[in-house]
Symmetry: C3
């Protein structure tokens, strides 16, 4: 698998996704047997225009597991514009001379595509703008379903919480639209339901979905419960127990189903759930390393 840039999750066809996931599976074996020296001469530059310590850590860990080197700025604003307002394009051209791959977190939608247009090295989009893409998160979510449930075709998933503003659930819904016989339950207060653009997209692709207002009503029908934060305001306005999971509710979740969460969580999952083998949210962060290793390996020339 040879990728040039990783800009948006839409760029991946289903066969490309499966190839990526196979590569991620292989990465686990590499980690287990103590890593590889194949990438020891490669440099990953992290160019972050806004803080995202979690995403940065995950990419740094992934590149380190590949044996490669990392140079980081979590404050690319300082790199670019202190006093002089250098353009993103100029900054990328310079940093491309310092590295073999640039992981870019930009504050504007379309930043990653602009960077890719001028860069002499691969660009990986680590999030661009509030409403923009964060493809590596979407890919690690999908990989977790693939890995835990063994199939994505036919999967039944409840997405719970603030769906209107949740970048992860929006991206995941989009990616699921590429698969067969998927069933999606959008579980949210009416005011925070999934927005029309995704609804239209799913209808256009004949994906079955329904809107719910209480997780308890449908938890026994799903393979995946994808929890997200509700936000403190919403918790006051609605009944938070309808978008909440604890040990007593876990009794209704089928035996081979899983609970996911993009983390950090607030109060939507009781800590008593953590020891349940169906709690997949910490394994999900580990899968993020494997998927990012696979993406880095796919764009790096070794």
């Amino acid at each position: 698998m040879k990728l040039r840039h990783v800009i948006e999750s839409q760029q991946f066809t289903v066969p490309a996704l499966m190839e990526l996931f196979n590569l991620a599976d292989g990465m686990e074996r590499i980690v287990a047997r103590g890593g590889t020296g194949d990438y020891s001469n490669r440099i990953m530059a992290l160019l972050f225009y806004e803080h995202s310590t979690r995403t940065r850590f995950s990419f740094e860990s992934a590149m380190s597991r590949l044996g490669g080197k990392v140079i980081t700025t979590e404050n690319a604003i300082q790199f670019s514009s202190v006093m002089h307002g250098e353009t993103l394009e100029d900054t990328v051209r310079v940093v491309a001379n310092y590295s073999d791959v640039i992981v870019l977190r930009h504050n504007e939608i379309g930043g990653a595509a602009r960077a890719a247009a001028v860069s002499s090295v691969p660009i990986i989009n680590a999030g661009d703008g509030k409403g923009g893409q964060h493809p590596t998160q979407a890919l690690l979510d999908l990989y977790t379903i693939h890995r835990e449930i063994k199939t994505i075709d036919g999967v039944r998933i409840a997405m719970v919480g603030n769906l209107a503003d949740g970048r992860t659930v929006r991206s995941l819904a989009y990616l699921l639209g590429k698969f067969e016989r998927v069933k999606i339950f959008f579980v949210a207060p009416k005011t925070l339901q999934m927005k029309q653009d995704i609804v239209d997209y799913l209808q256009h692709h004949n994906v079955w979905f329904t809107e719910e207002e209480d997780l308890r009503k449908i938890i026994d029908e799903v393979d995946v419960v994808y929890m997200t934060r509700l936000g403190p305001l919403e918790r006051e306005k609605t009944d938070p127990t309808r978008f909440y999971i604890d040990e007593s509710l876990m009794k209704f979740l089928p035996k081979k189903s899983i609970v996911m969460h993009p983390l950090p969580r607030a109060n939507e999952i009781s800590p008593e759930v953590d020891s349940d083998p169906r709690a997949a949210y910490f394994r999900q962060t580990r899968n993020g390393i494997l998927v990012r290793m696979a993406l880095l390996a796919s764009v790096l020339d070794v």
Copy 2:
């Protein structure tokens, strides 16, 4: 030597300390012959909830000397709680999926123990809370005495400066209580003398100690002068020359004795002392690398 976590200096028995110090001696030979590749696949995550650039630098250097990789956040607050207030426990569980050992600096007493309770990888405590533990500093101080004086049993040490608030002298006094025939001179203004808990501990362990108010009175009787800062306020209130060392006072220090300091120093050691071979405070920072290398090697599985 196989350690699981490094949480507090009390966890080390005298034989365990000696084994650690032997390992540290061996680390010097590894550094001298150009390092080792044995840890090249290991990742150390630094998770710092408060700034401590010095401690961070020392751990990064130690891990680099072992050939390993480092991922750092000096701003773990940003990792955990920006907007959402993730618990320490959740953060540690995530970071444990990114690394092979976590070096934790936490802002609350007991933070390291809480982290160890949930972590799937070893935790090394790099300081937790103002009155809490900082075991690696205490161990490097003890190692410096062991290395320079050749014995800890029977050592005579003057601890000088603000002893009431000094974390390093408190921890060192505690560790010395495990050894035989130690004599401690606490040299401080009355208001800044060693606190009752340590005094009680030493009495309980039959350690000889005395309180003094002038270093000049006892400098010819000690093997180690452990200087610390007095604080600007105290310097005004007392006669700072009583807690100060310069070339003229060094004439009274025995030939094989040493001067230590946890650094940074303020004005308590005259720069003219630096060229005296008995000035051990810069060697002390070097010993910190060796002890931290030994600790990392003891917790890492290779």
Copy 3:
């Protein structure tokens, strides 16, 4: 080539410069064939008392290309003086125990020389003070001329923009004074012309130079156009088109000439120039890696 410290560009004789540039040429071959493991046990400490993300990134990339390790503080103020005001000398002595070379960015003129006086490892000056030295930038500029024009003797160069405050043009003029038959055109508004100290130096070394107020008048006579920023205030007061280059002006620049810029640029070079093969400013940043690799290799003992 064995260097002890890199403190100022004046320390290099012409033969030493040529040896350094040969070494830099060789570094390109090392990068191309995938790096070297020779420096994998060496640690570079970056000790920056003021932010300079660009310089930091460039040094980190250079050390990584050599296979070495990097420990960084971009906030050395925090290392040294939080609460206690440690001297630069003490900080350097400590950091020298953590590393094999220190790259120092200090906020006072002469900081690098002070550090070198006490350090047990080599010091590389990455800029000291506003009016101080930044020798690695000056060396990479000269190397770019050497590499692109094939000769420095006899080179004709226009320096354009704010020459009074421009550290890079001042240093470059100084270094060019060591070569034969150089011709320099200082192109600046009268109030921002090259200062008397450099003028005196060039006269003393019999270097041909002249002052101009419009790049358009002399662009067809030069091998190198070295552009710098004018500053927003000056752009208002003068006619900025006289210190500006675009596609239409490029027609008058000789075929084998080049355009340089220390970057970041503001508006003094039109983006349409970027695709012209004579636009050397992004290659210049790449040359910075090679020169810094050569300097690191010259000071490091392997």
